[in-house]
Symmetry: C2
Subunit: 392 residues, 2 copies
């Protein structure tokens, strides 16, 4: 029996494997990207679940269209237009099995073997795995505090005829937590139009802004229809439902719909109806505000603790939102070695090397600050700080 | 902007497009593969949904492992062992987004561009689409009343060095409704072992047997670990949840788990917990028995009506279970032409041509008998019979 060639490239996600280790309750884990479960609106969901089953149980449990539940797609289009200056209606939206599936479908729609994906360096680990399954390679574009360095992007495109897709996370990037400024957003849309290259603007965290102004999406500057955006209910509602979306021009979304048909027919009907009912009956803005406040406190506390306990030679980002911050150690210190000692002290994070598709930069790691309570944040980061001191 | 090459091959599923047409309530549709919604245990699901959220709401709404909810995987392993003579435990099972995703993941695990899938002729339409996305072609193996003609399969393998995967639906096949006999099952397992070719045994309908004896799975004769099986809750519980599975030897399932990680991380957590809770608290066997009785009555009525109203030159199968039967018209009559007239008379079915990956056999069509009430079955099939008479 022979596997496909891609199977020699596909590796276990370091995060998912670490998550198994960190399931023991004594571990203080900054490894996952898990939302705080104490914020899930459990009682409200119980309520909407009953209502959906009472009002339209047979429909909720039956097959539905590949595109997804229309009232939910309508809500998403309105929300994106209001926040991100897009101009969508429901036919611009396809419901996906979390925004992770939007990445996988993008690989299927755009990537042939030998194609090149241009991405931020570093970039989201599971996007690397999603795209790699379609036989692509990656060119990493340098990033600074303002986002991708667009001049470097343009040079790379000019020297790379197989460049097929530009993948970016402009808001509270995973893993760095950084946000692109307005100028870079406009410039990327221009580059995409000039060179006719598709852009995937992945935006799972955009709603979780703690301070500063919401910026328009890259898509809002798209004049050629080359730009696609993702979104998800995982971070503003709950991830267990696995409901996200891909948004773009109608002609492109129709391609995604065809691809999703063969992939898994459609998303969970009742999950879509429950979320739509929640959005109808409850105050999602109030709920998101609660999440923002708590994550902001956790970020503040994390940054504060790191300032106090990490050696001065260690630098880290201070993100304006999202779930993650990014740590750089002095050259020559391997974050995997640091992790080994930290695990002995029952504290975990994700070493940064895996976020670079072409390897390297082992002196980095990612901290998730959304999932642990405040006392554990202080305790855990202090432990990491002590371990780091031993590496000086 | 350039799409992947595969996009020129991927077509809209004729069924999904037809389903949109047939959403008007006046249409009597034999087109879908939809279960009867009046059989969904809506009240019981309302109950288990409340219990799951009360007992463990935060867990139900959070991320979980890629493999899936363990108690559900344990139930599936026991069920398969009891019914299909397999020897599984929970680590032989990966929960998938319906059994359709098990097909897609199989394409990802096994198929490179240029590989060949060997399948029954005709075969399940959406499997063709799922596999084709990975750049394979198809060789159709003739089938008779007892299943795939194994001597033809072996000859094809010998002349086709790129044969990579054998795809079969041995129980109440889609679209023909036919079931493989015991001998053919054993022979296929032998062929798979002899030539080292993976087999995907797709089994979404096996639990819906109306008469005759349950036969062991092809997997139960597997000595080399080359055989994978699918299953789903869509036909015995409800499809809206999108919960199915792939089962196989542990080493192979670990490959599927890696691939699913990059594809969509995991299936809906709460859906898995709700189904597991239903299986714990309610009598699924009693529920399936109810479905069987009703579908059996519908099949009886369909076959009876077709005997009475279809011209003698038209032949059709009389399946022992499942959801479908298969109609063959005299050579030269195009089922798509018949459908046009039938749609004018508000009755629909799926023309058979699309079930042949390499085209042809336009004188066939598929009838679904599970979704319409008894009076509509008689009324609708009589209308089709009248249209068919006009083609004589």
């Amino acid at each position: 029996m022979k596997y496909a060639k891609r199977m020699s490239e596909i590796k276990a996600s370091e995060i998912r494997e670490l998550l198994k280790l960190t399931e023991q309750p004594e571990i203080i884990s900054f490894a996952g990207g898990l939302p705080a479960p104490e914020l899930f609106p459990v009682n409200e969901i119980k309520e909407v679940c009953s209502i959906v089953l009472e009002e339209d149980g047979r429909k909720a449990l039956q097959y539905t269209t590949t595109e997804g539940f229309k009232p939910l797609r309508e809500w998403i289009a309105r929300r994106m237009n209001d926040r991100l200056e897009t101009a969508f209606d429901c036919d611009n939206i396809l419901i996906t099995h979390g925004s992770q599936q939007a990445l996988d479908l993008s690989g299927k729609v755009f990537l042939d073997e030998g194609d090149v994906v241009l991405c931020e360096s570093p970039t989201y680990l599971a996007a690397i795995n999603a795209f790699r399954a379609y036989g692509c390679s990656f060119l990493e574009i340098p990033t600074d505090r303002e986002g991708m360095v667009i001049s470097e992007l343009e040079q790379t495109i000019q020297s790379c005829p197989n460049a097929k897709l530009i993948y970016v996370i402009p808001d509270f990037q995973n893993p760095t937590g950084r946000t692109w400024n307005l100028e870079r957003r406009k410039q990327l849309a221009e580059i995409s139009a000039r060179y006719g290259i598709a852009v995937l603007e992945d935006n799972p965290y955009g709603e979780l802004r703690f301070e500063g102004e919401v910026l328009p999406s890259i898509k809002s500057f798209d004049e050629e229809g080359n730009i696609l955006c993702t979104g998800t209910f995982s971070k503003i509602f709950c991830p267990g439902y696995r409901i996200g979306w891909i948004a773009g021009d109608k002609e492109v979304i129709r391609k995604y719909v065809l691809v999703k048909q063969g992939t898994d027919l459609q998303c969970n009907t009742i999950a879509q109806m429950e979320i739509a009912k929640y959005l109808e009956l409850y105050d999602i803005d109030g709920h998101i505000e609660k999440i923002r406040q708590i994550y902001k406190n956790r970020r503040d506390l994390a940054v504060q603790t790191m300032k106090e306990t990490f050696p001065d030679s260690v630098t880290f980002t201070n993100p304006q939102g999202g779930l993650f911050l990014w740590v750089e150690l002095p050259d020559g210190i391997d974050a995997r070695e640091v992790l080994k000692i930290c695990l002995e002290k029952n504290v975990a994070f994700v070493p940064g090397g895996s976020f670079f598709p072409n390897g390297g930069r082992e002196n980095t790691f990612r901290i998730n600050f959304s999932n642990m309570t405040e006392d554990r944040i202080v305790d855990g980061l202090t432990r990491i700080g002590n371990v780091l001191k031993s590496f000086q």
